[in-house]
């Protein structure tokens, strides 16, 4: 009789310096061979729950711990994480930061070296892992040169090489484009189905994972409940757009995949008339104009023949797979990447970064350096020669007034993004670019951000944001631009552009056909 892979018995845990427990009397059992999903809002305790599985909580973190966690029958309190390395593997959220060695092959072997695995056996194991995760081609590469999806697979292989039965992953797909995410999920499923592994993963972007898993754990305010994925997602009021639609219109069970939703839609009701009228083309003044724009990166042309005009009042979603040139386009339009050919005109002259164009980078944390949120905004105002300008309007517009006195680094990822956005918008630049603003963003922060973008354009500005998040694009954009291979391959209303794409189609489009973008739209039409 094998013990359950993981068992939590009345686990409570409070971080040092924290006043609230991160886990509160948690009881949970994860059976051997299951593919489990951990869901919950940001800060609910997902990470803590995962880290308790191999004893990082409490051995690594310190703090006050009670209860027991048994992993594969072993008590985590009795064994330090390093002693459990052969039993449970842990893959952190950012694999690039977790790599210890430089070469893929060495990275895979690192865990086994620590465990003192016999060299001959180690050699075999590394080969197996290379094959299992389809990494043989990459064995001699430096981990630095890998793409996001490759990194994630290397991290998984490295965690698995020591031969654990349980694999714990913290948001494995959050940094990947849809194809990369698909690839990783397929690899994980293979581990569960073909190799009898137990996989536990936490994920924000439920639309990517909900269809793959067979059990879910909802985490909310330190409490954990379990059930089948649909029920858990239903109860947590989180989930992919199809689930949100299900909740809006009262379907039971809540659909988790596009396929479920199609079935449900057929059974319950059919949407009314084909789609809804796309938003009228805004006719504001042209602020940004790129003509026959070309840009290079390390001798390689990454943008070619870009003709693009952005008008006042527009919110433009810039889409395309990784490496399509989205970031380069934003940087070139903002005037920080050299124009190889063609021209960029902002407001009648060359773009002036930080003056008439502002860009919130992919890693928005890169701008945060002050000790309080309001100082952060004030720093921008001071740099623009407006040291005594009012800070609070910017905080109000992003809904972060309550955080004014806090240290930006103490905030959640979503809140930090809002702070960074406020700091960047405070330049007063009419043209605002955001590069992938939705990473690690909880729905609440997303809502604040969307509201801010609309108010910015209402004041006569223009916004363009690069994103993989089709659902955000569907929700806020008035226009979508699709890049591929450095060229614009589609430009028009989100309904047209996204509806036309296989990869980037939002779930509503996939269920109900072109024209349908957000669950709210569909729900309105259905009722």
């Amino acid at each position: 009789m094998t013990p359950p892979a993981l068992r939590y018995d009345g686990v409570s845990f409070t971080y040092p310096d924290a006043d609230r427990p991160a886990l509160d009397a948690v009881d949970a059992t994860i059976d051997d061979g299951s593919f489990a999903l951990v869901v919950g809002p940001t800060g609910a305790g997902k990470s803590t729950f995962l880290r308790a599985a191999n004893g990082l909580v409490p051995h690594f973190t310190g703090g006050v711990f009670s209860g027991r966690v048994h992993v594969d029958g072993r008590d985590t309190l009795a064994s330090a994480p390093r002693k459990l390395a052969g039993v449970v593997a842990f893959v952190p959220q950012d694999p690039a930061a977790s790599f210890v060695l430089d070469r893929v092959e060495d990275e895979l072997a690192y865990g086994m070296e620590n465990l003192g695995v016999d060299p001959a056996h180690m050699r075999r194991r590394v080969e197996e892992m290379l094959d299992l995760l389809d990494l043989a081609e990459l064995r001699e590469r430096s981990v630095r040169t890998l793409s996001g999806g490759e990194r994630q697979r290397v991290a998984i292989a490295a965690a698995m090489a020591a031969g654990p039965r349980i694999l714990v992953l913290d948001e494995p797909t959050s940094q990947l484009d849809p194809q990369g995410a698909e690839h990783v999920m397929a690899a994980l499923q293979r581990l569960v189905h073909d190799h009898a592994m137990t996989v536990v993963l936490a994920e924000h972007r439920l639309e990517r994972v909900a269809g793959w898993v067979d059990v879910a754990f909802g985490v909310d305010e330190g409490r954990v409940f379990t059930g089948d994925p649909a029920a858990v997602i239903h109860r947590l009021a989180v989930g992919p757009p199809v689930a949100r639609l299900g909740r809006l219109v009262g379907w039971d069970p809540v659909p988790l995949t596009v396929r479920d939703a199609r079935t449900a839609a057929r059974a319950h009701a059919n949407p009314v008339a084909n789609g809804h009228a796309s938003l009228g083309q805004t006719s504001g003044e042209v602020i940004v104009a790129a003509n026959a724009l070309e840009a290079k990166h390390a001798q390689r042309r990454v943008l070619r023949a870009i003709d693009l005009q952005l008008r006042q009042g527009e919110i433009v979603a810039l889409m395309g797979r990784n490496g399509a040139g989205k970031t380069t386009l934003l940087r070139t339009l903002a005037g920080v990447h050299d124009v190889a050919r063609g021209s960029v005109i902002v407001d009648g002259h060359a773009p002036q970064p930080g003056v008439d164009v502002a860009l919130c980078p992919q890693e928005s944390d890169a701008v945060l350096f002050s000790e309080t949120v309001e100082d952060e905004v004030r720093a921008t105002l001071a740099a623009r020669g407006n040291a005594h300008g009012a800070v609070s309007p910017w905080l109000e517009r992003l809904g972060i007034v309550a955080l004014a006195r806090q240290h930006p680094r103490d905030l959640s990822a979503g809140q930090r993004l809002l702070v960074a956005t406020a700091a960047i918008a405070a330049t007063g630049a009419p043209v605002l670019f955001l590069d992938e603003p939705t990473r690690g963003l909880d729905p609440d922060s997303k809502e604040h951000l969307a509201r801010f973008l609309r108010s910015h354009t209402a004041d006569g500005g223009v916004v363009m944001f690069a994103t993989h998040d089709v659902e955000l694009a569907a929700a806020v954009a008035t226009r979508a631009v699709m890049l591929a291979g450095g060229e614009i391959i589609a430009d028009g209303s989100p309904a047209d552009v996204l509806g036309d794409s296989h990869v980037f189609a939002p779930q509503m489009t996939r269920v109900f056909g072109p024209g349908w973008l957000t669950p709210e739209q569909v729900a309105e039409a259905l009722t």
Partner: protein, 275 residues
């Protein structure tokens, strides 16, 4: 437990023994630098002219004694993942600052050692200085007989920064660190020149004279240093102090926060058996 003292270097040896060992190996290291002054005196005791040692040969003896120092200091083991990761990340910052951030004798690399040594204590400071210097030496392809000298000297810079006050008010802490940075700007140059001095300066009024006494050699060295390095090292001294004043406070605040986040101060979790 004092929040400021972390011991990423957990030693199994008795602390008193460890401190004694530390003092001995560091004295050994100091000897390695100071032999040009001490040696003539030693020779005088024997009074044997035949035993006059050729300058360069002593370099070998030095390398051996510095190697021993590094061997004992770095080989103590038991750092644990947190300290290794921190040294890796901060060492990377040193590597990254080694090439672009230098003007004459000044290298922005020092700010990392100063600040991190101050935030995490002398033991960590020494390790970071030594390991970071080694890594940056590897990275820029700067391996050679001088590397042990640099490792130990920068290790000491970090250790010294860790001995400065940490619990006082910000102006005191920054002031002390800036003054220290200024002083070590010269001291580092003066100490590091010593390894090559007997080679470079020849025996002259500014060179090492195996026959002259320690005081005379010291005078020679001061002349040599003033002639060749003083201006150069002024960049380092002023640069260190300026950097500490400008970025010291926010960086120290960052490191202090990081230490809290990484729970560097928390050795054992508290377990409560209930339920």
């Amino acid at each position: 437990m004092s929040a400021a003292t972390i011991a990423p270097v957990a030693s199994t040896r008795a602390p008193r023994l460890r401190i004694a060992a530390l003092i001995v190996v560091n004295l050994l290291g100091a000897m390695a630098f100071l032999w040009p002054f001490a040696l003539p005196a030693l020779l005088d005791v024997t009074g044997n002219e035949e035993h006059r040692i050729d300058g360069p040969w002593i370099l070998l003896i030095l390398l051996v004694s510095l190697g021993t120092l590094l061997f004992l200091e770095l080989g103590r083991g038991g750092l644990g993942p947190k300290a290794v990761a921190l040294i890796g990340v901060l060492g990377a910052a040193m590597v990254a600052l080694r090439l672009p951030g230098f003007v004459a004798g000044f290298s922005a690399m020092f700010i990392v050692v100063l600040v991190a040594g101050n935030a995490f204590g002398p033991s960590f400071g020494f390790l970071l200085g030594a390991v970071g210097t080694f890594a940056s030496g590897l990275f820029v392809g700067g391996l050679g007989p001088w590397l042990p000298f640099q490792m130990v000297a920068i290790g000491w810079v970090g250790a010294g920064a860790g001995m400065l006050p940490r619990d006082g008010s910000w102006p005191v802490r920054i002031g002390a660190l800036a003054a220290y940075g200024f002083v070590i700007g010269y001291a580092y140059g003066a100490v590091l020149n010593l390894w090559s001095w007997p080679f470079v300066a020849g025996s002259s009024a500014i060179g090492w004279d195996s026959a002259a006494g320690g005081i005379a050699n010291l005078r020679h060295y001061v002349t040599f240093y003033a002639a060749t390095s003083f201006a150069w090292d002024t960049f380092r001294a002023v640069g260190n102090a300026a950097l500490v004043i400008v970025v010291g406070k926010p960086l120290l605040a960052s490191l202090d926060r990081a230490a809290r986040k990484m729970r560097l101060h928390v050795a054992e979790p508290i377990t409560r058996q209930g339920a």
